[in-house]
Symmetry: C2
Subunit: 300 residues, 2 copies
């Protein structure tokens, strides 16, 4: 069921708009660990995944639905923390929770977030639309979330981690304003959110358009994490997932601001006709960038 | 993610319509058992739950999304069967699957079905709207699904059960045409689907409206199951869940057909001003009908 007090939620999509729908699982042991993630971080990240998908379409979230299955022995305090994290992020973007489903879980906390958004008719920014010669951009900096998972995997260092000091992993902010700005100003030819890592998500864009890309290694913006804040390894910036930044392409003639809504926008390369993705290092050496995928707790 | 090849699905809601959204978990060990339910039955029932919620609003399903988490060792054949069951029901109602999410499951098959539907603006049939004096109706017959769960719980009898002979439990048909007919002809004052059992779902309607009800015991349509087809016990018809029939109320002056889209419609009682729900048996004896809830594999 969905809809607080009805079988379905009843919602208005603004006149002249299309609906956007996205759904994302957050499963204990797969996407988060209760020993690692405070409950409000789990709630926050659960909704951030959905918002990030709406951001990547240039859309505006209208409302969210939560299907939540809980193990019988879960303390109510955990659930309260989870809901607080989710609601705090929802409020930040003026979104309400319109319903969902609840069940007893056979194993661990199981959440599925559904976000309903809207976009003016025909204006959604798709993954298709990138053309050879288009420039490739990313928002923010990459590899921060994966670098923090790497710290979490180290038992000794984990104990010293305060989640609030590592927002890239525990409280990522989806780039809704950036996505909307790009769509409103008709700047992006294609867009995707970087949830599986730059190498994988860029490969998705290239496959979708039957093109390749050339990336300049030294242009990739590497995240700074913790205090003092060292830059993350290039490997993590290239392959690490769950940064929830945006990757987009734009025709060469478009002027892309260097910051949008306070977020740095970095040009990292160019779409090419030949179908492979090449990395060029500072010495001009080329190597092929292969998508490595992203398994949440399996940092290589 | 959602949207085959994009971060979100982009969908048109017909002009002058509102969107309906519903989400329902189907979790192994909670809502189904792999030893009991063939994979196509699990897929069918998963989508039927969502369709039934849309039916209860008088809506039309547009598209469905599936979040599906699978254990690593699950045979591909099981997944194929699941998808076949889901697609067969989807096609029956002209609905496409627009995307979803996939993940590895930490334990068992975990599915969350999201159905997006539509209804002309302001015309959704809500749970609120029932008034004292309104007649209470149900579609089809009740208790069939619970009676079959009771058979499944009996190890010896379970082995002889052929799922196709017991469609009420394994392949229930959501009452979409009935719901739409009632809405188009402005017949129902309130509606809900009977997923938790008559006693519980009628209590939801009564609570929502601050009213009570009087039910005539001998009018409750009891399901016939198997061959030869004995009628199910009154207890199961009153309290058994997952029949996915509709319960609705209508003003006394409305003429309700005895069949809609081939489905029997039965008047079983009346909405009352006093807040309890009374059952009256064939001897005119009254007793209070208390909602018993419905736990999927816990038949009392």
């Amino acid at each position: 069921m969905t809809g607080i007090g009805d079988d379905s939620a009843v919602l208005a999509i603004p006149e002249g708009h299309q609906a956007l729908v996205t759904t994302d699982f957050s499963l204990e042991g797969v996407h988060f660990r209760r020993e690692w993630h405070p409950p409000d971080s789990v709630g926050h990240r659960c909704l951030a995944r959905g918002f990030s998908d709406i951001a990547a379409m240039g859309g505006t979230p209208i409302t969210a639905f939560l299907s939540l299955a809980l193990p019988q022995n879960l303390p109510q305090k955990w659930v309260d923390g989870f809901m607080r994290g989710l609601f705090t992020l929802a409020e930040k973007f003026g979104v309400s929770l319109a319903g969902g489903d609840t069940a007893e879980s056979p194993a661990g906390v199981l959440a599925d977030i559904i976000v309903l958004g809207s976009v003016p008719k025909g204006k959604a920014v798709l993954r298709s639309g990138a053309r050879p010669g288009d420039r490739i951009y990313v928002t923010g900096a990459l590899g921060g979330s994966a670098a923090i998972v790497k710290l979490l995997l180290d038992e000794k260092r984990r104990r010293r981690i305060r989640p609030r000091d590592f927002p890239q992993h525990f409280y990522p902010i989806p780039r809704l304003e950036v996505g909307r700005f790009l769509r409103e100003n008709n700047l992006a030819s294609a867009m995707i959110d970087i949830s599986d890592g730059l190498s994988t998500d860029l490969a998705h864009i290239c496959e979708e358009n039957g093109v390749g890309a050339e990336i300049l290694e030294q242009l990739i913006p590497k995240a700074l994490i913790g205090r003092p804040a060292p830059k993350v390894d290039l490997r993590l910036a290239m392959h690490g997932g769950e940064d929830y930044e945006l990757l987009f392409t734009a025709a060469q003639r478009k002027r892309i601001p260097s910051r949008i809504a306070g977020i740095a926008i970095t040009e990292i390369g160019e779409i090419k006709r030949t179908k492979n993705i090449m990395m060029i290092n500072q010495h001009g050496m080329q190597s092929e960038l292969r998508p490595e995928g992203w398994e949440h707790f399996n940092i290589r």
